[in-house]
Subunit: 548 residues, 2 copies
């Protein structure tokens, strides 16, 4: 029996990870992270639970990566800590992944390069790789030939004509699979809500070119570090402009280094300069590429916008281009940067006002194209929230897939294929693991709930020491607060709270059993009521009460 078990990405954007098993052999496709949701206060990243992988009866022999984005490789170090298996991927993807894994101190990992058109055999599986176009380079869709038939996992893709061959989706290979016979297509649902086709990368290049032509000063372009094709477009513009190039930002410099080494990016000799030397050239001769397009407060772009960058000061004729998607949730910090740049006198160009960015995920017509090309018997929407999966299922139906052959699955469900019959046969443990600093999984619901309460109304610590023998107060009540109220504004609030506490203590007799426990809980209750009544806030109350 062939089993497909999504562990992440079917129910959210990000966290993409899937196990495919036949008999006692298993492989994994992708090991992605997700950035925390708003309520996950203080959390750095989210990874899929590895519980199933560790417990699985099948021997998991390898992990295959589709492309070099965090939502597909970001959980790789955590996977490799649990299970030291070889990592397969195209050269660029492995270059980035290796870097990331080594940052976690893992060095004895086997990396195996794969190439489109060159299959790899793992037990009963023949893994093949088909070039897809996406917002990074060297991405592939993965075909898995199994005794039950061929599976196709598109990875993240759009159709993308234009650019060189390494940038275009290999529609012919997908069509050949279709001709051969495809058991099931698993396809990227991210942009299923958007009608039509994605704009071509060439029209983005044209927009960038015309924006740059109008600019008389320096040009600063903020983009995602992994968007190598976009970087090449800017390099080309800079070359035509006879400008010098500055790459600023650690992740950008890392990507550029890998992409140049592997031939995905070509920068003419002598064009790159160090940001320190920016003032040695006239403004018109400066093109700077940087990260920070999502408003990250410590990024070079943020520092430039607040006038606190060490080397770059915005002048009147400068142009700043945000050549990237504004990810929902980041609007406000991005908007703040745009406003600040305008105030400094720069011209600012962004997605909302110019066509300086295009998505890397297929729109509706492209998604239908993938279905038509591969002509699968079964269709499984992947990579999306539940609403995206539902819409993709509907779209597949409109593209001719039989309703009964569309499998709308969620993370953890086991999709089985046997004798060309596909169905959901069970469920494995799955979940999201929160990573906070070095802690993996030690922050859960209760800690998040406390952080939520702390973030809204702060906390009040009440300290009292009683004499163990007489029961009278030796120290306190002392009140310390954090994040609650600016204390000079309402000194009386704290004084009155002390009176409330003293009243509570008086009410509780001296000789009552569990006196300290009772006082503790009564103080919490009384202060909660008091603060709610006087100032309508609900700080966490921490009573520290001792008998000595």
């Amino acid at each position: 029996m062939l089993k497909i078990i999504p562990l992440g990405g079917l129910g959210e954007i990000g966290l993409n990870m899937m196990v495919i098993e036949y008999g006692d052999t298993g492989i994994i496709i992708d090991a992605g992270l997700m950035f925390p949701e708003d309520y996950m206060l203080g959390i750095d990243i989210v990874i899929p639970s590895m519980d199933y992988i560790i417990q699985s009866d099948a021997r998991i022999s390898a992990v295959f990566l589709t492309h070099a984005h965090e939502d597909h490789i970001g959980a790789l170090p955590y996977l490799l800590k649990e299970l030291r298996i070889p990592v397969y991927g195209t050269p660029f993807t492995l270059g980035v992944a290796k870097n990331k894994v080594e940052e976690h101190g893992l060095f004895d990992v086997e990396y195996i390069e794969v190439f489109p058109g060159k299959p790899v055999h793992i037990g009963p599986f023949e893994m093949g790789f088909i070039r897809v176009s996406h917002s990074t380079v060297d991405g592939v869709g993965i075909t898995v030939k199994t005794p039950e038939g061929m599976l196709i996992h598109t990875g993240d893709f759009k159709i993308g004509h234009g650019g060189n061959e390494a940038m275009m989706t290999d529609v012919n290979s997908f069509a050949r699979c279709g001709a051969e016979g495809v058991l099931a297509l698993m396809s990227d649902s991210t942009n299923v809500e958007t009608e039509g086709y994605t704009m071509s990368d060439q029209s983005v290049a044209d927009s960038l070119q015309s924006v740059c032509e109008e600019s008389k000063g320096r040009i600063i372009v903020a983009l995602f570090a992994s968007n190598v094709a976009r970087i090449q477009q800017i390099v080309n513009i800079a070359e035509r402009r006879k400008s010098k190039l500055i790459f600023s930002g650690r992740s950008l410099e890392m990507t550029v280094e890998i992409a140049k080494r592997l031939g995905f990016l070509s920068v003419p000799d002598g064009m790159e300069i160090d940001v320190k030397d920016v003032d040695h050239y006239p403004p018109r001769q400066i093109v700077m590429l940087t990260t920070g397009s999502q408003g990250e407060p410590m990024s070079a772009l943020a520092r430039i916008s607040t006038g606190s960058h060490k080397h770059i000061r915005i002048e009147k004729d400068d142009t700043v281009i945000l050549s990237s998607k504004i990810i929902p949730g980041n609007e406000k910090p991005i908007s703040n940067i745009i406003n600040s740049l305008y105030k400094l006198g720069a011209n600012v160009v962004y997605e909302r006002t110019s066509s300086v960015h295009v998505s890397g995920h297929a729109y509706q017509e492209e998604l239908k194209m993938m279905i038509r090309l591969t002509n699968p018997e079964f269709f499984i929407p992947i990579h999306g929230e539940y609403r995206h999966l539902v819409h993709h299922a509907r779209l597949a139906q409109s593209a001719g897939i039989n309703r009964e052959k569309i499998i709308l699955a969620e993370n953890g469900q086991i999709i089985s294929f046997e004798n060309r019959k596909g169905r959901i046969v069970g469920r494995v443990p799955t979940g999201r693991v929160l990573v906070d600093g070095k802690g993996v999984g030690d922050v859960g619901r209760s800690v998040l709930k406390e952080r939520q309460m702390l973030s809204e109304d702060g906390l009040v610590v009440v300290t009292i020491v009683f004499d163990e023998e007489t029961g009278i107060i030796m120290y306190g009540p002392e009140i310390v607060s954090r994040g609650f109220v600016f204390w000079t504004a309402t000194g009386h609030l704290i004084d009155d709270a002390q009176c409330v506490i003293l009243e509570v203590i008086e009410e509780v007799g001296l000789d009552i059993p569990n006196r300290i426990e009772i006082i503790r809980s009564k103080i919490q209750k009384a202060l909660r009521q008091y603060f709610n009544f006087t100032i309508k806030r609900r700080p966490i109350i921490v009573p520290v009460i001792m008998e000595l």
Copy 2:
């Protein structure tokens, strides 16, 4: 000298408030709030600082309201607490405003109804009112005839043809002002980044109608309570469908009551039923209107989506329509509701997939239309972040306004007009006041900073009692944490932290002056380092250290 002093809304979306003075008379247009930005943890609302209004030499005689939205009337109770002046507005606007003011316990306020075409005289000012179309009813733009010339303040508007007269912008009256001569136009910049014209309200009605026609079950429409025209559209659909109507949500019920009383909304007799009786009717005969379209967790819609609503259970043929804008920052909670509704089997229709909503703010071509109609000598973009104001200034230039006659002002700047010369002549105190519970202005930067730190890594309280005479430890070190780490996960972390504390205490001699102070600061430093090293988190450390 005529002075225009924006106190809010020129530098942000929301917080709209403006003072207009001539000689010793002043009036205010709007008193709006802003919803808190992400970093304003625990804050309920933000209002403009009233400092200038309180200190102004001019006698502020009245406040005029353009329309009934929170970002134009939400700070009114706070204004009236400082300055008990009469409130002018159209009947619907006053109806909503009065409700809001009385919720704050203010009852002795004078409300004066105004009507389009009926001017009001206040000292040197003749105030006029021109009907504008917006996403609530009874909105007006305000004309202010002054000895220096006529000002026009558009309020929030779009051109909006269609609907009845009370819903359309009175383009003829604006054109008459243009013919009479306009000194300065102050116009709404909210949607200046969007090309073209807003879609008509009729096409929204058509979309809603066709979505409803397809639905075989109950129809639940979530919208903004103040969008009376949209409510009427749904009522009409329900009537044609021969359905019963349920209004659910306090603010919605309040608006409906006011709108019906004033004739802005007409609901056939016998159509409304109580939500308790929903099961007495077949699903096809139920149309429910509710709030919660922004994903508010306590709303009826949120409860319906989680299956925890007292009376409404989603069934397979039900249709839920989110007929409202998805406000940036709310994507995630809204998306969660949509996903949950899909899982319950409902069909869900929203802005991203159907034309079931249109903005209430003019797009570029409409903004140009307003400029062309009123043909002002000066142009002042209002209602927007700085980037919107910059774009609106550019747009005005493209619509024929002389560059020198465009005044790009910010909150607090004094724009003066004298002998048809307009310029910025100074600055008054301005700012944002944070309202948290009953506290107005008592949460500032330092408290927010503490809340931020608490929200990210929580807090650790360390209690130690020393014997005053011997200096030895009588109690502790006791460690209590909140929002830091799930304690069973890392009990040893706390044990080891106690050892760190004991080492610190040992290092500090017994007879050192300020021993307690030194121990306190050394413990903070040592624990910060220890937690950063072991778990890479930075909780706030609160040492409670006593000598008894």
